[in-house]
Amino acid sequence: MKEPSSIQIGLKIPKDAEGILAYVHEVLELLKAQVTLDEDKIRKIKLILVELVTNSIKHSEDENASIEFTFNHPTLTIQKVDKGLQIEFAGDSEQIPFVELDRTIKVHLSESQPHHIKILDPYRFRFVDNYKEGISIDFLPEHFGLYIITLASDSFIYQHDPDLLENRFIVHLNL
């Protein structure tokens, strides 16, 4: 099968939750026509898309938010792009722009939503698995979206462009 470096999907992100399932099915059909996907990858792409779209519906105020797809063998990249201010963490978490780089720190996306991130540059970080040592009901968050993307992907990065006021959630999945 021909494996292009950029994938044309051309679908708008649904504006409400009722459109998510149809969107995911349509994207998968278009992807399957352009790259080879096994069952495991299809499952992971479904989870990633559901959570990226859910995140967009919940948090993005940008009417033109989009999800872009590219493929450079063997990696499928899925990016949610929207205009807006950078992520602001809750509580006493360190904030963007980071000063000290190449560290793993704990931040709170909300009071009940702790995440570990690896700082890559002042405006860019990678989500890391915060429950590697096992999961306990006492510390279980009630917001799982970004954690699910972290686990379903090979790499999940957030970056903010302060000049363009643009946020990118960048998901890499090795097919």
Binding site: T54, I135, L140
Partner: protein
């Protein structure tokens, strides 16, 4: 959202009658189940046999329900998961926290 309720002895069986268990329904689902717990229901089976996909909001609601049940020595069984949803529980390691059963019969047997 559409949830059917059935009582078998002291066990309350809740079946999600929706294809999509997502953020537009998770809050209502959570409040509804928490109110059942507040009214004394502590043996619960939640069936997802009609559900095609479940998102993080709904997963969070299940966590909140379990957190409310445990101090009451309550019991929760989850059943009727399709392969995608089962995979989600395994990926998030929530299959180690929740007790998942293949079908209603095996879930009910667990209470005997």
């Amino acid at each position: 959202m559409n949830i059917s309720k059935e009582k078998k002895g002291d066990i309350l069986i809740l079946t999600i009658e929706e294809k999509e268990a997502n953020l537009s329904k998770s809050e209502h689902f959570k409040e509804m189940v928490l109110s059942e717990i507040a009214e004394g229901e502590t043996k619960l089976i939640i069936s997802f046999e009609k559900v095609e996909y479940l998102d993080s909001s709904f997963l969070g609601a299940l966590v909140a329900i379990l957190k409310n049940l445990l101090p009451l020595n309550g019991t929760l069984r989850i059943t009727g998961l399709n392969a995608d949803i089962k995979n989600l529980f395994e990926l998030t390691r929530l299959d180690k926290i929740f007790i998942l059963k293949d079908n209603l019969e095996t879930a009910l047997q667990d209470f005997k």
